[in-house]
């Protein structure tokens, strides 16, 4: 009777979770699968320079808000450098500082942009057109070029069309040829337009193509026409479709500046990703929105991680109650799995095994020192931190960037794992320690594999009510009184006798 009541309760719990999820899907349209998607560009600017030992400072102009792209996240934190976004100028600039830096320095700025054709930004009108002063023979040549074109141009747009064409038609006119010898094509075209009283400017933009690395910005000319900025390629002329062009530098005097360093350069890399349409829905949520999407991006990322924990817990319950794997510590595997989510599986496993085995060796020495338990664990924490630091430095020196991933491992978890393993080793013998150690690792890897599934991450974050189903499953497993898989092996001799 009680058993049925209990079963009913669990089923109701699961049904409630499922019901709310279905209702929410119907009313908000949040996709069930993670791949009903729109394109998201991840763009990375990499500033490199050789620091001279003096205080180092780097400035990078950041892309303005623009049509067609919705910036959802940007980061610029680099280890050892202070980072702020300077909003004081006409264009935002990233500002990195370090009191003293020597050697090769690499700074990253990353932005995540959702492609959204509906996203419009009010264009910033130009300042008054400032007539450039062409000097000497250039003044005459500029006058000649404009005189030849002006009669055919009816407005700013057609004038610009004609100019770009004139700069690319071979053979070049004598005047154009002279001007191009003394000027870069981009600034020349905008200067000629300005000379004619048309608002135009040279800009730098990044053509977007999936998976490109170490790209540079390209020069374009923008012409103010009819209350909007028109894009001109310096060779092919006016661009109608700028969906794959990320405007980067418009009003800033320079793309980037480095103080206290030499041999500086900046390169750009980019990838495109599919991302569920909720990227948009979460930004358009109203003030009454009580979903997790109303949190700031950084907090959302934290919750994305935390909300996979119940699924990891379910995996542990499954592995222990149904399979019968022995683990060192009950939920240590979930915490290890959580660390794996941030370090990647292979790097995380290698780091964990390396640090735990090294610390175990050291601990056998420590146990000879006859310390009290608390002091011993504290000593281990210090030792683990020393090991972690060494490993991070060595792997960074060797060019294995994943060495930095080690810092995501909570030190206390590492230290406790080491402590538990060494107690097991002393008391139950190497065999039991290895069984439980590998049991923990196995369960952690299983939990990681489940927690890392895109579907699991998507559902646990976007449909948090489904955790009621997870809870129901755990409650049901908690009443399971049948045999564990490994017990079928353990008790096999008993079954043999009956046959």
């Amino acid at each position: 009777m009680e058993r049925w009541f209990y079963l009913l309760g669990s089923v109701l719990l699961a049904a409630a979770g499922l019901g709310v999820a279905v209702y929410r899907h119907a009313s908000t349209g949040v996709p069930v699968l993670p791949d009903e998607d729109r394109l998201v560009w991840q763009v990375e600017a990499r500033v490199e320079f050789l620091a001279t030992g003096a205080p180092a400072e780097a400035l990078l102009t950041l892309p303005p808000e623009q049509d067609g792209f919705l910036a959802v996240r940007e980061t610029g934190a680099s280890p050892g450098f202070g980072f702020i976004v300077d909003q004081s100028g006409k264009q935002r600039r990233a500002h990195w500082t370090k009191r003293s830096a020597t050697g090769e320095q690499v700074l990253f700025y990353q932005a995540e942009l959702i492609v959204d054709p509906a996203h419009r930004v009010a264009p910033v009108p130009p300042d008054d057109v400032r007539r450039p002063s062409f000097e000497g023979p250039y003044a005459t040549a500029a006058e000649g070029v404009l005189d030849a074109i002006m009669p055919r141009a009816t407005n700013a747009r057609t004038l610009a069309d004609q100019l770009v064409q004139a700069a690319n038609t071979r053979p070049l006119s004598q005047n154009m040829s002279l001007l191009l010898q003394g000027h870069a094509p981009g600034p020349l075209i905008s200067a000629l337009l300005n000379e004619a009283g048309v608002a135009a400017r040279t800009v730098k933009a990044l053509p977007l193509a999936d998976g490109r690395r170490y790209q540079r910005l390209r020069n374009y000319v923008q012409v103010w026409h009819d209350g909007t900025w028109l894009f001109y390629d310096l060779v092919s002329g006016r661009l109608d479709d700028t969906a794959r062009l990320l405007l980067w530098q418009t009003d800033a005097p320079s793309l980037f500046d480095v103080v206290g360093g030499v041999n500086s350069r900046v390169t750009f890399s980019m990838t495109s990703q599919s991302r569920s349409a909720l990227g948009l829905s979460r930004l358009r949520d109203g003030p009454l929105d009580l979903t997790l999407h109303s949190l700031p991006i950084a907090e959302q990322a934290t919750f994305k991680l935390i909300l996979t924990l119940p699924v990891g817990a379910l995996v542990v319950v499954f592995m222990r109650l149904l399979v019968g794997v022995r683990t060192a510590g009950t939920f240590m595997p979930v915490l290890i799995a959580l660390s794996f989510l941030q370090t990647e599986l292979l790097a995380g496993t290698v780091v964990l095994v390396l640090v735990v085995s090294a610390a175990l060796l050291l601990r056998f020495y420590l146990s000879a020192l006859n310390l009290l338990l608390v002091a011993r664990i504290a000593t281990l924490v210090v030792v683990v931190i020393a090991l972690v630091t060494t490993l991070a430095v060595v792997s960074y020196r060797m060019g294995l960037i994943s060495g930095l991933a080690i810092t995501f491992f909570p030190m206390v978890i590492l230290a406790w794992t080491v402590e538990r393993m060494s107690i097991l080793w002393e008391e139950e013998g190497a065999g039991e320690a290895l069984i439980q150690g590998f049991g923990s690792l196995l369960v952690a890897i299983c939990a990681y594999l489940v927690m890392a599934l895109p579907l699991v991450r998507h559902l646990s974050f976007n449909y948090p009510e489904l955790h009621l189903c997870v809870l129901a499953a755990i409650l049901l497993l908690g009443r399971y009184t049948g045999y564990r898989l490994l017990e079928l092996r353990r008790f096999r001799p008993l079954a043999d006798r009956s046959t």
Binding site: L321, G324, N370, L372, L373, V374, I423, E427, E428, G429, E432, R479, Y480, T481, G482, Y483, R484, L485, E487, L488, R489, R490, F491, R492, P493, L494, A495, D496, R497, S498
Partner: protein, 318 residues
């Protein structure tokens, strides 16, 4: 023969799994408030003393570091003794000293250790290294049991003990546990000790296991493990049956040693006894537990319960 047993086969044999033990018996019949009585050996000893259940004599107990610094004075006139944590589990942190060799103490395995080693062990014990949940603990120094001569050839080091599962006061299954070199003389099956199944009706051996596998001889001494007969079996069953009355733990494991002079002594009790005893006996626990549950006798006396066990638990023992 398949690699795995089929669940239905095991069910038919009445084999109990860990999940079932934990849910239906440990949490079903053992009140949490009684746990400290069995988890803390110091409390167990006091409880047993009040109820007149014999245990190895308590010589000293230490719970502070300053007591450890001067422990050599207390150990000076003790030729043989046993140190164990009051709240230890799984036989961890137990040291058996059987004699002296000048400065050194001789362990049951013949190994020699110095005073520093003993002090380190005591420090570890009171700081909770060997205890459930790592709580601070106290260390017990008790008299060494002088094992019955019949066990002399059987065990490598350590004193063999007899584990009896007592359900609602009825002894239902028993096994003799023999230390091996692999278990460092400890009588703990997890650590590689040999378990010899004992017929609950007679105290005669019915089979043996080590590491969950059948064995016929002791792995170190090669002594055959058949035909063992525990002397004074009914008295031993009466002793364990009374343990239920003082703890009120319905599902209990009692560990008994047989002293050459004092007879059966209660060593410790366990509220979560392991399941390897089924393999040692070649028989599942389930049928026997059901037989006890099916008895409709109100508040049976110790003698009634022991008589039922000696009678084969109403036919549940095959």
């Amino acid at each position: 023969m398949s690699w795995l047993a089929s669940p239905s086969e095991l069910r038919e044999r009445g084999v109990m799994g860990l999940n079932r033990r934990n849910l239906d018996y440990v949490s079903g019949f053992n009140g949490r408030r009684a746990y400290p009585l069995v988890d803390n050996k110091l409390l167990t000893k006091q409880l047993a003393a009040r109820a007149g259940i014999p245990t190895p004599a308590l010589l000293h107990d230490l719970s502070h570091q300053y007591e450890i610094e001067v422990v050599h004075k207390q150990l000076a006139d003790l030729p043989e003794f046993v140190i164990k944590p009051a709240q230890g589990s799984g036989g961890r942190g137990i040291l058996v000293i059987v004699g002296r060799d000048g400065e050194y103490f001789v362990k049951s395995s013949g190994e020699r250790v110095d005073l520093r080693h003993i002090k380190r062990l005591l420090t570890n014990i009171i700081s909770g290294l060997h205890s459930l949940g790592g709580r601070t603990d106290s260390a017990i120094v008790e008299s060494l049991v002088n094992a019955h001569p019949m066990f002399d050839s059987m065990s490598a080091g350590g004193v063999p003990d007899i584990r009896v599962i007592v359900f609602q006061g009825y002894p239902v299954m028993a096994m003799l546990r023999l230390g091996t070199r692999a278990s460092d003389g400890r009588a703990n099956l997890h650590q590689g000790a040999v378990g010899v199944g004992l017929d609950i009706r007679s105290g005669r051996s019915v089979g043996a296991v080590q590491d969950d596998r059948s064995v016929t001889h002791h792995p170190d001494s090669q002594v055959p493990l058949e035909g063992i007969h525990i002397p004074g079996w009914p008295a031993l069953l009466r002793l364990v049956s009374r343990c239920f009355d003082v703890t009120r733990l319905g599902y209990l494991g009692c560990d008994i040693v047989i002293d050459a002079d004092a007879g059966p002594l209660l060593l410790e009790m366990n509220a979560r006894p392991g399941l390897s005893i089924q393999i040692a006996n070649g028989s599942g626990l389930d049928d026997r537990l059901r037989a006890v549950l099916a008895r409709d006798s109100f508040a049976p006396t110790v003698d009634e319960r022991v008589a039922f066990a000696l009678d084969g638990l109403g036919g549940a023992v095959d």
